[in-house]
């Protein structure tokens, strides 16, 4: 049968079972507009509280009433300002093709777009963040977590400071004051929301409560992003490998899938770097699920005698591991990406 509601027609079925009127009829609407599941049965109060005395006319009247309400609701929805008749579902489906950064930009289009994005943020795409760089703040026990949208720290070396400044996000102060000498205070120019203390770091990594829209690939690194500035200021970074060991321990102890994290170690060889590598190798050798461990361990260092010894030791050790796991390009597992840079 065809229902006419507010000058629009819908197909539907009212199925009367064999034992009607003892059992209530079923009402099925085939073309309810804009419902995700258009063939669902309608449950009306008259059906739920069915009495044998209810007539077919009453059933049809109740169906028409509920459809009228639905129609009014849809009309209200369409007249929502700013959407220009676009359904929220459609807007969401469009936004799902767009990356997180562009979605944020769309929040500024209009109130209704902003509403849709805010409400549906949890199902919309996340922002792609290239790197999460962590280093210890001077004079404090705070770790500074910095998030990069486009640039890996290693890119900074290849560019001059001005170019790098264009790609770094939300760290404006230092790079725009190129004449200024780095002082101990300078590292605290990083915006406040990027600061976490060392105990909060675990939350940051595992519960993702500190970082909104968690990044897809996270490079944990103690390599200093202000490499150039620190070098000019003659400051060297200590303890970075020890902190890296600590973070690696957390990742392993968490017993979760931490494969989206990679660790980057850099700098001169020292016993801590040795310990770090030892830990990583042991973890990969002993685990039954290497795919859940950090996907990459990168070590950037200079070429010298200690470096040669280190490499030799590393290669000897690698001989004990499953070659496929190491060499296969896309395989997860231990992947020592050792880059030796000449002085």
């Amino acid at each position: 049968m065809t229902f006419i509601v507010e000058d629009q027609s819908y197909f539907g079925k009212i199925i009367f079972p064999r034992n009607y009127p003892v059992q209530a009829p079923y009402i099925q609407i085939c073309t309810t507009p804009n419902l995700k599941e258009p063939r669902k049965f309608l449950y009306l109060p008259i059906i739920e509280n069915w009495k044998a005395s209810c007539t077919a006319k009453e059933v049809i009247q109740a169906t028409l009433n509920v459809m009228k309400k639905l129609d009014q609701h849809l009309n209200l929805f369409y007249s929502s300002p700013g959407l220009n008749g676009l359904q929220i579902d459609i807007l969401c489906d469009i936004l799902k093709f767009i990356d997180g950064s562009n979605i944020e930009k769309c929040s500024l289009v209009s109130k209704s777009w902003e509403n849709v994005i805010r409400i549906y943020r949890k199902i919309l795409p996340l922002r792609k963040i290239c790197a999460l760089v962590i280093h210890q703040e001077y004079n404090t026990y705070n770790l500074v977590v910095r998030i990069f949208l486009k640039t890996y720290p290693r890119d900074i070396e290849r560019r001059d400071i001005k170019d790098a400044a264009e790609e770094l996000v939300k760290i404006p102060s230092y790079f725009y004051q190129t004449e200024r000498k780095m002082s101990k205070k300078s590292s605290i120019l990083i915006p406040e929301y990027n600061h976490v203390n060392i105990s909060a770091l675990q939350n940051c990594i595992f519960d993702e409560i500190v970082i909104p829209n968690p990044p897809t690939h996270i490079e944990l690194s103690f390599r200093n992003v202000f490499y150039i500035g620190y070098r000019e200021a003659g400051i060297t970074i200590n303890n970075q490998h020890r902190d890296l060991i600590k973070i690696f321990d957390w990742l392993i102890q968490s017993q979760r899938d931490v494969s989206r994290y990679s660790l980057l170690a850099s700098g001169s060889f020292c016993p801590d770097l040795d310990t770090f590598c030892e830990k990583v190798l042991s973890a990969f050798e002993s685990t039954s699920e290497p795919g859940n461990l950090p996907s990459q361990i990168k070590i950037y260092t200079h070429q010298d005698k200690k470096g040669d010894q280190f490499l030799q030791k590393l290669f000897d050790r690698l001989g004990n591991l499953d070659k496929k796991r190491i060499k296969h390009k896309n395989a997860k597992g231990v992947k020592f990406n050792v880059r030796i840079s000449g002085k």
Partner: protein
């Protein structure tokens, strides 16, 4: 002989029969059932109504107007034997993977560029996944990389956000770069 019933049968003979579809501006379109069935909504109606379906009296489409339905039919005609599309997303970023369109499809969207919103609405109502998702992708393509002002201008949206509200949105999205 193939069954006359439309109930769940996709017999070649039935697909070759014509059905009249009436849009909300009372235009009648005579369409091959095989083409109309690209729309899941119409297909469901044909299946549900079964033998009671009167092919000549018309299936009403109250939410689609004639000019748009004409464009939709063009798509259906081209995609009547096409396999179901697979919507995939990046498991990490949740971003949908973009479809690779054929030359015909690119040309189709070029031709109807100014009707993309209407096409998406119609495809959503008619449940034509290929047209729906491809249109959404085309719209996303137009939105991507544009400033809020350009998006507003493109779709004729009124800027109803105050400067304070915009500042608040920027403050909430700590990494926004615009």
């Amino acid at each position: 002989m193939a069954t006359e019933s439309a109930n769940g049968v996709s017999s070649p003979e039935l697909n070759e029969r014509d059905v009249v579809i009436t849009t909300n501006d009372n235009r009648n379109f005579t369409v091959k059932i095989g083409v109309a069935r690209v729309s899941k909504t119409i297909n469901n109606m044909i299946q549900d109504l079964g033998e009671s379906l009167d092919l000549s009296s018309g299936i009403p489409l109250p939410n689609v107007d004639g000019p748009i339905f004409e464009k939709v039919l063009e798509w259906c005609e081209e995609h009547k034997n096409a396999p179901e599309i697979k919507v995939e997303q990046d498991p990490h970023t949740r971003e949908r993977k973009w479809f690779t369109m054929t030359e015909w499809e690119e040309e189709y969207f070029r031709k109807f560029l100014s009707h993309l919103w209407d096409l998406a609405m119609a495809a959503n109502y008619l449940e034509i996944p290929s047209l729906y998702y491809y249109t959404c992708q085309k719209l996303a393509e137009r939105i991507k990389g544009r400033t809020p002002e350009q998006i507003r201008e493109m779709f004729g949206i009124e800027d109803d956000l105050t400067e304070e509200e915009k500042a608040e949105i920027r403050r909430t999205n700590v990494w926004c770069t615009y």
